[in-house]
């Protein structure tokens, strides 16, 4: 009888002793917190390493390189990321539209073919692109090759949230706008794009987080003049060992990514990312 009074979902009739239940709950929450610490620990360790010299003095001096010799790499990363996002938008929104709203033969086959690069391991994509660029397309190692690789690797990530958002969007809004005399373009820009906003921005966030931190495909196809910041981190750990300056760059990259994620969650919440790569 006493157990009936306990809050639903947590009651344990077999253990009428309330303190035992409390202990179980405390352990459960403790377990979650241990994992939260584990998630943040590598970042915190990198941050601590970037702030200390070999003599144990705390200093910000390692960060002078971030705005010094790493500035080019950071700028290249931002540039490629922004360009990739723009091209992804231009490609993915019409494609999502066609897949949801238009009758097309072999739709599921087309969708699988478009998603193919999503399931290809990054190293396989890297090696296939480096061979194809060098011997088939004869493209030199410039930013264009890099961006093409990023676009093909991430536009499915833009496609999926927009398809999900479009499926949830009832046709009545579109129809109402058309009945009230809006042209097709007006309907698209003034009615549908605002309603699809969260889905589109989820795609933008996914693309940003992945491309900004991508180093593996880049490692295969980048030339000497197209070293992105994430690739620079990798290269430096291979050649220079573990330096505070490398840690400073890695910390900066993660901080930028984290701030973008926090901003997104503040603006849109996390529900638009369901069923995609970020929870």
């Amino acid at each position: 009888m006493a157990s009936l009074a306990a809050p639903a979902g947590t009651l344990r009739p077999r253990f009428p002793n309330i303190s035992l239940k409390r202990l179980g709950d405390a352990l459960a929450h403790g377990y979650v917190w241990v994992w939260l610490v584990i998630f943040a620990l590598p970042f915190l360790a990198t941050l601590a390493y970037s702030l200390r010299t070999a003599d144990g003095v705390w200093t910000l001096s390692a960060y002078q390189y971030v705005l010094g010799s790493f500035k080019e790499n950071l700028l290249l990363s931002l540039q490629t990321t922004v360009l990739t996002i723009i091209i992804n938008l231009i490609i993915a929104i019409p494609a999502a539209y066609a897949i949801v709203r238009h009758p097309l033969p072999g739709k599921s086959f087309i969708l699988s073919a478009l998603n193919l690069s999503l399931y290809t391991p990054a190293a396989v994509m890297g090696v296939s692109l480096v061979i194809a660029y060098a011997f088939l397309f004869r493209i030199p190692q410039t930013m264009i090759g890099l961006i093409a690789a990023y676009v093909v690797g991430t536009f499915p990530l833009m496609l999926v949230p927009v398809i999900v958002a479009l499926r949830d969007l009832p046709l009545v809004f579109e129809e109402a706008a058309r009945t009230l005399g809006a042209t097709r373009m007006q309907t698209f820009w003034r009615v549908e794009i605002p309603l699809l906003g969260p889905g589109i921005s989820a795609g933008i966030l996914l693309t940003f987080v992945i491309i900004f931190n991508e180093f593996l495909v880049t490692l295969f196809i980048a030339g000497p003049s197209t070293t992105t910041a994430a690739l620079r981190v990798y290269n430096l750990t291979r050649t220079a060992g573990f330096q505070p300056s490398t840690a400073a760059l890695a910390t900066t990259m993660q901080l930028i990514s984290f701030v973008v994620v926090l901003l997104f969650f503040r603006l849109f919440g996390s529900r638009y990312l369901k069923g995609t790569y970020l929870i």
């Binding site: 290809t120 061979i131 093909v152 295969f220 981190v233 573990f242 969650f265």
Partner: protein, 298 residues
């Protein structure tokens, strides 16, 4: 009910508008809208992968001049690189199982007890910034004079011996894919009514029986989907063995491909290794899509 005639009227008007336009076959318009995406996918995904397949069947740069096909690369992959394939599969499988063991309780607690889910989701994005930073941070933690050194000494753990070990590689791989596992199991568990568990308990089931008879069968699809997703991701592992592993872990296929292709310029062999890895990854994805039907279900 009163809305129905109005809706019908709208449908007619839209239909009329479409009919009145010339060249407006919806199928053609759909094709045009889809065209850029298809062109990009063909140019930079399908053609390169097809070319990879072709190069994998050639030796000594013959793909560039007169193409002579040979299965020699594959013979080498399945003899000399058999242990590399085994190591790749072993690491991916072991880390996915670790994810399941530690991720199931995590997902259960998250769904049933935790109110601060937004915080958990935010923190879970850290591993997703990439295995590179993860491995970098762990490397520093595992150094003999690392930041957590005093704590490990107090606990009597010699942490430095785990640097360049299988344990460190597996741990970092498991942490990287942990969110994917939690996401899949959490999605399955959130569809399980808590009343079922309570009913089982009221009827005298022990916690263990509640798990094996109620929770486990009902979250089975999430477990399979999570395992396959983690396994598929970890098949392509590169950064963690490279930074934290011993030479044995560094024999995984991704690293071998980089060494053969971009250091030794043996493109045929690198391509063959790539094709083998690709086939494994696609097989895993195909099975997992069969199981989960994906977010799209198209």
């Amino acid at each position: 009910m009163t809305h129905a005639p109005a809706e019908v009227a709208i449908e007619y008007e839209i239909a009329d508008a479409q009919v009145s336009k010339p060249l407006a076959s919806p199928r053609l318009r759909g094709g045009l809208l889809l065209a850029p995406a298809v062109v990009v996918a063909i140019l930079f995904s399908i053609i390169p992968l097809g070319y990879l397949l072709q190069v994998s069947l050639t030796q000594d740069s013959s793909f560039f001049f007169t193409v002579e096909y040979t299965g020699e690369n594959y013979r080498e992959v399945f003899t000399r690189y058999r242990s590399a394939i085994a190591e790749t599969v072993y690491l991916a499988a072991a880390s996915s199982i670790l994810d399941l063991i530690f991720g199931y309780p995590f997902a259960y607690i998250l769904i049933r007890k935790v109110r601060y889910r937004e915080l958990v989701r935010t923190m879970m994005t850290f591993p997703l910034f990439g295995p590179l930073y993860l491995a970098f941070g762990l490397f520093y933690i595992l150094l003999p004079n690392g930041p957590l050194g005093p704590i490990f000494t107090m606990l009597g753990i010699d942490i430095a011996k785990y640097l360049f070990s299988q344990a460190a590689v597996l741990f970092s791989m498991a942490v990287f894919t942990f969110p994917f596992m939690v996401m899949n199991i959490g999605a399955a568990l959130s569809n399980v009514d808590p009343m079922l568990e309570e009913a089982a308990k009221t009827l005298g089931a022990k916690p263990w029986q509640t798990f094996t008879r109620i929770l486990f069968p009902l979250s089975w699809s999430g477990i399979i989907a999570g395992l396959l997703l983690c396994f598929g991701w970890n098949l392509g592992v590169f950064a963690q063995p490279q930074l934290l592993g011993s030479p044995k872990e560094q024999s995984v296929l991704s690293i071998q491909m980089f060494t053969k292709g971009l250091v030794q310029f043996n493109y045929g062999l690198a391509a063959a290794l790539g094709v083998v890895l690709m086939v494994m990854a696609f097989a895993v994805t195909w099975i997992s899509l069969r199981f989960s039907r994906g977010a799209l279900g198209a």
